[in-house]
Symmetry: C2
Subunit: 301 residues, 2 copies
């Protein structure tokens, strides 16, 4: 199933793009990797770190002759970048992206790459609040779920190639239609980011003169619950707006759950509070059981 790409173009050499290049090299899965970015200092650093073999600030030059093009750009920049490169792609080039919201991107890119390149959407569930190529590492994708989001219009070759790519990166490819992907990531990533940010932001408002005391005292639940509030606001505003239909749906359900807590607490109803809290405990334990489970070899969903 493993495939070696002759010439891989990575557009965007941040944490994900840089790690992608390092992982491709480390797996021997690419003949050469060309990096492209508007910022030359990032490209230098990506080359220095062994993520890319050569670079250019011109996307057309980057994709020229490439048999695999990976768009590792912020979600809102992906369609424009795709429009730029579409005219010069090899017709057999595999094209994929790593955007965190898929339905919008896949719609736009399927239209764009119709008959030019072979596109399938992708989304590795790996990342960090620490952005940038400086934090890139070859094992970023190890054990992570890598969503591949084919539709009825997707060439099988593209789905197979990106599934194989995910394996080569050490990730666990899982196929999901774009809309279902967006629903799932709203629940397990986008809503948690909104909530973490909301929780962190309230400390000054709630604690007033004791805000500093509160931040000194804050331990496990606050430290963990707000960790991703440290993520880049620009990046996350883009992602949340791109996937707003599903994020709003998730927010509505979440608010209904908070309403239930509020009713139980207002009534001083300990049994109802325990039952509500227990719903979360049960799911958390399912999650921990999965986390603790050994990785089955070559699993795919």
């Amino acid at each position: 199933m493993a495939e070696c790409f002759e010439r891989v173009a990575i557009l965007g050499v941040g944490l994900i793009g840089g790690s992608m290049g390092m992982a491709l090299h480390s797996a021997g899965a690419a003949g050469m990797v060309v990096g492209c970015s508007r910022t030359e200092s990032r490209l230098c650093e990506a080359k220095r770190r062994g993520a890319i073999d050569s670079y250019t600030t011109d996307p057309l030059a980057a994709v020229d002759g490439a048999d695999l093009v990976i768009l590792c750009l912020p979600v809102a920049s992906i369609p424009a970048s795709a429009r730029t490169i579409a005219p010069v792609l090899r017709s057999d080039a595999i094209v994929t992206d790593v955007g965190s919201a898929k339905a919008c991107i896949v719609d736009a890119l399927e239209e764009l790459f119709d008959g030019r390149g072979q596109f399938v959407g992708g989304h590795p569930m790996a990342g960090s609040a620490q952005q940038g190529v400086w934090h890139a590492r070859a094992n970023l994708f190890h054990g992570a779920t890598y969503f591949v989001t084919p539709t009825g219009r997707t060439p099988c070759r593209a789905t197979d190639a990106v599934t194989s790519l995910a394996h080569q990166l050490g990730a666990r490819p899982v196929h999901l239609p774009p809309v279902d992907h967006d629903r799932v990531v709203a629940a397990i990533s986008h809503l948690p980011h909104v909530v973490a940010s909301g929780l962190a932001s309230l400390v000054p408002e709630l604690c007033g003169a004791f805000a500093d005391v509160a931040l000194e005292a804050a331990a496990g639940s606050f430290a963990d619950g707000t960790r991703v509030a440290g993520s880049d606001p620009s990046l996350w505003a883009e992602i949340l707006v791109q996937n707003r239909a599903e994020v709003l749906r998730a927010l509505a359900s979440f608010r209904a759950r908070l309403d239930a807590f509020e009713s139980a607490l207002s009534a001083g109803d300990e049994a109802a509070t325990r039952e509500l809290f227990g719903l979360g405990t049960e799911v958390r334990r399912r999650f921990e059981a999965r986390e603790a489970r050994p990785e089955p070899p070559g699993q795919e969903g």
Copy 2:
């Protein structure tokens, strides 16, 4: 400032009570420690782990002759337990508790210990989703804030003794009136627990047939954001109900923040979303800066 207690009675030998005993021993701060619990197996384990020197299932026997009594019980059990022991306490015995909600407990216990024992409320900000004496450790309180909550009625001797105790446990004592304490912990601990539970509980509802895929794929933001959802629902229902006035206040502010996210996202307003997310980022960075700061020696608030 350090003080050695001759005979310490710890009522309740779970994670906190057990760790308290181990830390007292390790600091050489107690002549002997008597443990008390309704469950003999816990007492055996506490003794085996060196948390206590002897034990009894009779609270009256436990506190007999003690110069320090620490109530390490679930918040809802503290007043009843205090009522039991009050008649037999030495009049100069220092009494404190470790409950997570203070205003209710302090009100009840000040009344009860008026002229019998010398009471001040306390709350070490240390804990774990892993409950029980099996997880107790001498360094549980190292570097943690230890809230001491004196009021106008509190004997200075009690405040001084529990402040000194906190130092001996390796914690950082901070004095705060009970109501302010309850407001601060609602923001940095109780609300984060409600939110973590809510987030975890939504996965089946939001992801439907893909709930298992979602839990397999969930990474950093979900793993961190829901960690404390694994805590004991009974324990947390008690705490939330005890501190419901402040938890409801925190929930109302949190829901207002989610309303703002909802408006920004409904309007597809990336700038407003970025600004909202950024409020959390700013506070999180303040928190991280404090976390990274070296501990000043013997600090006290």
